[in-house]
Symmetry: C2
Subunit: 442 residues, 2 copies
């Protein structure tokens, strides 16, 4: 008995997926029972690097998701539509779904998982976050006994590549971005990556799994890396930090009302102490640090993108569904006739998590000021921060730039709202010419 896969898309990830399915030797024996039944593509006669028999190809993607013979629909076309509609139709036709589509899941996860639960099918998405690195399944299964406190990740390879090169070469953002585009590490339109939107999709998905609730993507604070300058990287380095685009999801205990905990879910460039495990994750690599009780800290590190690694995750999900089908587990229904799904693999959250507004975040800050070189400036900065309850760890005049004094401030943990108010006031100081950068510190 073979399990039949309907593959939607034969781009980078689809090609990698087909390549594994067609070459099962020395992989898990269950792979020999998986068969590619149909492959949906945009163009039938495009040259391909994988040997999929031509008669499996079709441009009619809808015929795949409705094909009675198909057991598992693998959605690797990406984007919002028609991916969303095809997944929903596949579910309506009783197909299990495997997807690598972080954008669609982060936006329509609610709709998709509700439909899947009603239909009694699984929607697995290991490939949607951090490419080949196992993190979704470990969160669902291996770490399920923990109270998760925080997830902190480098989950976008493009921005990590850019920041790593800025760090090692001392170059500016625009220069490295242009080179990354030339080398294929960044898209022609790099918005989703460099503005942090891709990372926001991923941390929303991870937060939802870790904290057992749905996340409104519009509530995820998101700030990209366009404003990071070579100067900031140099000063951070001198202070013992590297700058990384971190995606963070963190439980904020509310005193006296444990069930009303709020979550911080945010993406922004962050100063990370060089001794921190995430500081040495460079280039296109991804890493996710999970903190919980009683586990302490665990970190998962590996390739966050690419055809092969992402396909590794896609095929793992296909095999996990095949293993379920193999032992007939999908056929189980409760006494009232509703389908019974494995509670660790299915997503059954109904409520939305309460998200802390960014103004209420408590964090350390790094800020850089350009001011006229007059003796009282540092004193006035200090006084203003003090008036707004912002306690400072250090204030250093780094040197001169364009005849202006360059001052770097690092705060202790402070309330972001207070810090912003202090900055607004400082902007009115005549001596302060500019505040070129404000960054959070881990």
């Amino acid at each position: 008995m073979a399990f039949k896969v309907g593959l939607l898309g034969l781009g980078t990830v689809g090609t990698g997926t087909a390549d594994i399915l067609l070459n099962p030797h020395q992989r898990h024996p269950l792979l020999q029972e998986i068969e590619i039944h149909r492959v949906g593509v945009r163009s039938l006669d495009k040259p391909r690097s994988v040997n999929v028999p031509a008669d499996l190809l079709t441009t009619d993607l809808e015929s795949i998701v409705t094909d009675p013979a198909v057991d598992v629909v693998v959605e690797v076309i990406g984007g919002l539509e028609p991916a969303r509609s095809l997944m929903l139709k596949a579910i309506a036709h009783g197909k299990h779904v495997v997807t690598a589509n972080k954008a669609a899941i982060a936006r329509y996860g609610d709709e998709i998982f509700t439909a899947a639960n009603a239909a009694g099918v699984y929607v697995l998405l290991e490939a949607a976050v951090a490419g080949g690195i196992p993190v979704i399944e470990p969160l669902k299964q291996s770490l399920c006994a923990n109270r998760i406190h925080a997830i902190t990740g480098i989950v976008n390879g493009t921005t990590n590549y850019i920041l790593s090169r800025m760090q090692s070469e001392g170059s500016d953002f625009e220069t490295v971005l242009a080179d990354a585009q030339r080398l294929g590490y960044a898209e022609a339109d790099p918005t989703a990556d460099v503005d942090g939107l891709d990372a926001a999709d991923k941390i929303a998905i991870l937060a939802s799994l870790a904290f057992g609730g749905r996340i409104k993507l519009s509530e995820v604070y998101c700030e990209g890396i366009r404003k990071i300058s070579a100067a900031d990287i140099t000063y951070a380095e001198r202070l013992g930090f590297v700058i990384k685009l971190l995606a963070t999801a963190k439980r904020e205990p509310m005193s006296g009302a444990e069930d009303l905990d709020r979550l911080q879910v945010r993406v922004h460039p962050t100063l990370v102490a060089k001794s921190h495990p995430l500081a040495s994750v460079n280039g296109v690599y991804n890493a996710i640090l999970i903190e919980g009780e009683p586990i302490g800290q665990v970190m998962f590190f590996g390739p966050g993108a690419g055809s092969g690694p992402t396909a590794s995750a896609v095929v793992a999900d296909i095999l996990n569904i095949a293993a379920i089908l193999k032992v007939g587990r999908e056929a189980i229904t409760a006494a009232d006739g509703t389908p019974l799904l494995d509670p660790l693999l299915a997503c059954s959250h109904q409520h939305y998590c309460s998200i802390t507004p960014i103004e209420e975040l408590v964090t350390r800050f790094y800020a850089r000021f350009l001011s006229q070189d007059s003796p009282g400036v540092i004193g006035r900065l200090g006084t203003c921060f003090g008036n707004h309850d912002v306690s400072l760890e250090s204030v250093v005049q780094i040197g001169m730039r364009d005849n202006l004094a360059e001052i770097v401030v690092i705060t202790h943990d402070v309330c972001e709202g207070n810090f912003r108010q202090a900055l607004a006031e400082i902007r009115t100081f005549e001596a302060v010419t500019a505040i070129p950068s404000v960054l959070r510190v881990l």
Copy 2:
């Protein structure tokens, strides 16, 4: 409906396990359906740090594994007997088993899994390797699409703690060991840890999962860290390396006969380049690097021992079994009446892997020689190595020690047998007083 756990042992891991089971709040909701039914202990009236109701305790462990009400037997007593017999009896009585017992699984895995497959029950063992770090389940499920090439791990916290302190303090092995014993990081009898036996058990288990065959523990090459001196750590450092006790399992492709691949499975102190991801894993932390096609490299990092982290893995396994029971999957049988187990979760290997004898290993070496300070010695060493087909990367006279010249040699990749023959010949040189250390280089 509650799932009933029979817990064998209430030591470090058992206490951590009970603590999670008794405090399900903010963990996976399925945990609320798990109930501790009985707890087997050696002494009923020992003071305990966890609040297990006294009427659950019994000293009659056999009554737990035969109790018809028990769904899952959790074996955390450790050691070979009665752990093995209790697990086998539990299986014979149709119980699923969760164990943290690397020693018993590495030795009796064959017998235990054969019995489990016949009885249609699962034996899960996430906690047996690397404590709380998810690595067994990711290997079985998340990475199952890959051809695994190699697993390289720091899987023993005690030796990593000792080596890390020797490295940072410049101290000798015996000094740090004594202190580690005082602090509780090393046992009074440290043999299993410092001689690499614990790491050998773990790499045998990982190799078996990664390469789909059984491993004879007696064929695992095993060398501990007792002979590592402060001098070697200093010289390694100067050459750009740190010394780690690595456990390695590696597929050796045999040309023209892919199915006859042999495995290297070995534990020994190793010089690791400082830039390697495993080089910065210090203290009691563990890390496992898995290399495969198409995933590339992934690394899992975290706490390799301790009550809480190990219990996190034990309870995850309990929940995974509860999830299976919840959807009635365990009741499935094939047409011929034999029980059907999930092929990703069960262990069904029948054959034993063929293991490469250590003499046939191809690796780089580091060796340190003490010789009389006469001009021809380096030349004679070089000639002797050359005669045995051992190609050298560097030969450096580091300095003088006890009026003897201290010479450090690093080879290219060479056959271990050839290298050993050259060393045997060099030992006969009158000018060579001693060869205090010979270490492999990653």
